[in-house]
Each structure stands twice: as C-alpha cells, then as structure tokens.
Amino acid sequence: MSSKKSPDSEKTAHFVSGWKARIGYLSPSVFETPSDWDLILPKGFTIVASGLNVQAHTTEEFNKAIEALEAGVGIFSAEECDAILLAGITLGAQRGYQTEQQVVSKLSQRVGLPVSTALNAGVEALRHLRAKTIVIATAYLLWRRSINQ
C-alpha cells in the first residue's frame, strides 16, 4: 500500500500563482526583486513584469519608451493579466497629466484591461487623504536635454 497521499484540495486550492489577481507591470526599465513590492504584495497576487528598455533618463530614451507603449501592453493580455500598471514617471512627466490620462484610456480600450500609472496612483492616494498641499521626494534630478542642445 502506497504511503503517498493526495494533496489536500482545501490546502492547495490557492497554490495557483496569482489566484486573486495578476498585475501586469510595465516598467520603463526593469522590474527588480527583492524590492518594496515584496513588503506589500498580498498573497494571491502576482506581478507579471515587462519592460521598455529605458537605460538612461534622457529625452530620447523616454520618447522611445512612449512610442513602444502600445506594443508593450499587448503582452499582458496574452498573459491573462487582470490589470496593468504603467510604472515610473515616463509618460506623465514627459507628456503631462491630461495627455497621460488620454493615452491610458486609449491603451485600456485597446487591450481590454484597466490601466493605471504610478504617477496617477500617488495623486489618487493624495486625493483620498484630502491633502491640500504636498511636497514630493524623488530620486531623480536631471533627465533631459532641450531640443536645441
């Protein structure tokens, strides 16, 4: 008689990766682990990461990434993600809030998934907290040359 036991289906039911949600994470550069996400990602959530190959904070690199956005989000549909996060600051800081929201809406319609951005997520959180005045701490200082340089 075999001593092997079948897995307890109640215990293993949630062993499927991303059983609650699969979050498509489109990084301008890369997704690195361990990172802050390890501290906060709840059980049952999976990060499905892809990148846009930004290697330096230059106008050229950021524009290249913005042009690649539409093709970049397509992978998350194929990977059966539930939502997409555009990480980093590329789109919003380069094109501004209004354009960012227009592009996000268009991408969401095209891919059929909710799309949000890290920049706008901060704004939504500040609105939720009813903040009136804010300060912003960032890691970056310089990023782009003017067109004439």
Binding site: S35, D36, A56, H57, V123, L129, I136, A137, L141
Partner: protein
Amino acid sequence: MEKVNQSVKRYHEDTGFPVLGIAGLDVKKPVDQVKLPDYASYEVATGLFQQHPSLHAILIQGRWRSVAWVEELERDSDRSVVSSTAASLW
C-alpha cells in the same frame, strides 16, 4: 538640461495639488535608484518637511526604497505620507 523634478512638479500641479517643494538626488539612469541607501527616501522627505512644515502630505515617488519608511515618516512628521509603490498597489 531640464530638471526632471520640474516635470514631476508640473504633473502634480496640473492635477490640482499645490506643490510646496520637490527634491531629489542626482540619479540619471534607472539602475542608480537601487544603489541608493535604503534610508535615502526618508532623508530627502525629512529635509522637505523641515523646509515646508506647513505641508499636509509627503509623496515619495520612484523605484527607490520607500515603503519601509512610511510609518516612521508619518510618526516623525505627523503628516500623511504616500509611497508611490504602495499607492500603485492600492
């Protein structure tokens, strides 16, 4: 050179938030963010709070470590602190 922080500041002002101050470190490429000490975001945020004590909330933006410092920053400043990473998940 145009400062990235001015673009980030303008983005938030366009959403309706008066930005009292913005500060950062001289990171010029993505990988440099992960070379910063774990407490770098705490130090930059604390400096901003000291310069602008009338602020209502502190936003920490970027790929650098910030989540672990939110609670301590809120305790030390008695202000709301938002990490863009945590906000992204929220």
